[in-house]
């Protein structure tokens, strides 16, 4: 009962914060439109890149063009969700630590992790989820895909797990700023780190690529974030990989929370 009421309380809070940030965003409609334009351009560039590539080859690491297009759409939607919910919040954490403004947030009677990582929703990146979904649908049509409830259910579950895994990694990266003080480049760091999730894991081949692929699948499982949902939908429904993704999600959410709390214990207020 206590857990349920706590959950609904946080859900209500999240809803309130979402409405507040949406109103803020709509106060600067021009800026919102430009942000969306940038994302449209970026998606256009990604598609143009793969059009150029697939004009010269029929497969990349065993993925044909429609399958790869689905992968790109899945990455774009998942990354959009991460950016929308967490990236801006985590990016501000370093500045909160540096200036000591974190004190104010820590005093509030709400879970620190929730308040720090979920207090703002970046509605400017919300259309990415839609754009990524459109690309996925186009790819499925191009591939002549037939609806399969099991694949759809697995995709939805692993997509949610992928988002949670990415969030766990982002939270860990964010926590480091307590010790490094100025981790202002978190946005860039995240972009660099998440580049590992941007490609099919089959590209990790060869004498040094394969061990790297194994490392980033089983030890630091960033490779499963997009690969497993995309694979489940358009290629192989791999049971063990799905199980690994779900296990990794639980472990990483737990570990990242512990790490974040440990980081907060090391925080020394910079304010007077």
């Amino acid at each position: 009962m206590g857990i349920l009421s706590g959950f609904t309380r946080y859900l209500r809070l999240l809803g309130g914060l979402a409405v507040y940030t949406l109103n803020r965003e709509l106060a600067f409609r021009g800026n919102f439109l430009v942000k969306v334009s940038v994302e449209v351009i970026w998606l256009g560039i990604l598609i143009a890149f793969y059009r150029v590539v697939f004009a010269r080859t029929s497969t990349v690491a065993g993925w044909n063009e429609p399958q790869y297009l689905f992968f790109v759409g899945c990455y774009f939607a998942l990354n959009g969700l991460i950016e929308m919910l967490f990236l801006e919040n985590c990016n501000e954490f370093a500045e909160l630590v540096r200036t000591g403004d974190l004190d104010g947030l820590l005093l509030k009677p709400i879970d620190e992790q929730f308040l720090i990582t979920c207090r703002r929703i970046d509605w400017g990146t919300a259309p990415n989820v839609l754009m990524g979904s459109i690309v996925m649908v186009v790819a499925l049509v191009n591939a002549g895909w037939h609806p399969d409830p099991l694949r759809i259910a697995t995709f939805l579950v692993t997509f949610a797990c992928g988002t949670a895994i990415a969030y766990g990694f982002m939270l860990m990266l964010t926590s480091i700023s307590v010790w490094m003080v100025r981790n202002q480049s978190l946005m860039e760091m995240w972009w660099l780190f998440s580049s590992l999730a941007r490609y099919p894991k089959e590209i990790f081949s060869g004498p040094w690529g394969e061990p790297l692929g194994v490392f980033f699948t089983y030890c630091v499982p960033i490779l499963v974030v997009v690969n497993v949902p995309a694979n489940a939908m358009v290629r192989v429904l791999d049971g063990p990989m799905v199980a690994l993704t779900i296990t990794a999600t639980v472990l990483l959410l737990w570990a990242s929370r512990r790490f974040f709390q440990h980081a907060l214990r090391s925080y020394r207020s910079a304010s007077s």
């Binding site: 560039i45 150029v52 990349v60 100025r182 860039e188 760091m189 580049s195 790297l212």
Partner: protein
């Protein structure tokens, strides 16, 4: 005396004299360089972590292109004049190009100075704003190049198999010139974008669009030669190719003879064009500037 106090003393001294010898006139920019270098090295942990992370996209890029060439069955042949080895070498070299031509926060900083009124600090002191920003940027680039020298040297050593060795001295000379000009094109291009802040208070959005488009059309994702015509030819006439594609292509010997001189001249002209543009926009902008802020 701190470096800032030294700078202040030099400026005060210069303010009272209109005919200082050149070595004194440039001493203040040397001081800016020293202060900026010290500032850059303050947050070393953050800096080194970011440097390590910067190698991750290179790793995935190498693996992706390996998969593309294998998929096309062209591991032993060429794609638009690029063998697999050339492609990886090219993409590694674009990082060196960007090391010189990328200017993080330059345009945004200028626009912020205009918006918040802090630009007046350049107007009240006997210092040219563009000159100050240039010295500051040279310092940051120097710090970045020095601190990332070892990781980059290690990377290029590990990836030496993708290269056919060092090019001949003439090509190396042309490469060095192309990089210096890439820095100038990048600096004055971004400065020009920042000057737009005199007319539109918020340029961040414009900057995002420019940077996103630039990522593709400067050749950071793939060599421009892979694009179909007329796009490949068109993009080689624009200034953006000098910020990534051109220096890398020069190093690999893809551009030689008359074409090399032609494009080097083009790079110089674009650098001069943006230098003049930034200066003109600054002058015109100052007429509109109201020095808002405290």
């Amino acid at each position: 005396m701190t470096p800032l106090e030294t700078l202040e003393t030099q400026d005060s001294a210069e303010a009272g004299s209109t005919a200082l010898p050149p070595q004194h006139r440039y001493a203040k920019y040397l001081a800016i360089f020293r202060v900026s270098l010290a500032e850059r090295m303050t947050y070393r942990g953050d800096f080194f972590l970011a440097t390590i992370f910067r190698f991750l996209p290179m790793v995935t890029t190498i693996l992706l292109w390996q998969a593309i060439y294998e998929g096309a069955g062209k591991m032993q042949s060429e794609m638009a004049g690029f063998r697999y080895r050339d492609m990886i070498a090219y993409l590694l070299l674009t990082h060196i190009s960007r090391m010189f031509s990328s200017m993080p926060n330059l345009a945004g900083g200028i626009a912020r100075d205009v918006r918040e009124g802090t630009l007046k600090r350049y107007l009240l002191q006997p210092m040219d704003m563009i000159g100050y920003l240039l010295a500051y940027r040279v310092a940051h680039k120097a710090a970045y190049i020095v601190t990332s020298f070892i990781p980059y040297a290690l990377l290029f050593f590990v990836c030496r198999g993708f290269f056919d060795g060092l090019p001949d001295p003439a090509t190396l000379g042309a490469y060095a010139i192309s990089l210096i000009l890439a820095f100038l094109v990048g600096f004055f291009f971004e400065a020009s974008v920042g000057m737009v802040g005199f007319w539109f208070l918020e340029v961040t959005s414009l900057l995002y669009i420019v940077m996103t488009v630039n990522f593709f059309i400067s050749g950071q994702m793939l060599p421009l030669d892979l694009l179909p015509e007329p796009w490949a030819g068109l993009l080689k006439f624009l200034p953006f190719q000098y910020m990534a594609y051109f220096p890398a292509a020069v190093f690999l010997g893809k551009i030689q003879g008359t074409a090399l001189w032609f494009y080097l001249l083009g790079e110089l002209l674009w650098a001069v064009f943006f230098m003049v543009l930034a200066r003109v926009l600054f002058r015109l902008g100052l007429r509109r500037y109201s020095a808002f802020g405290g």
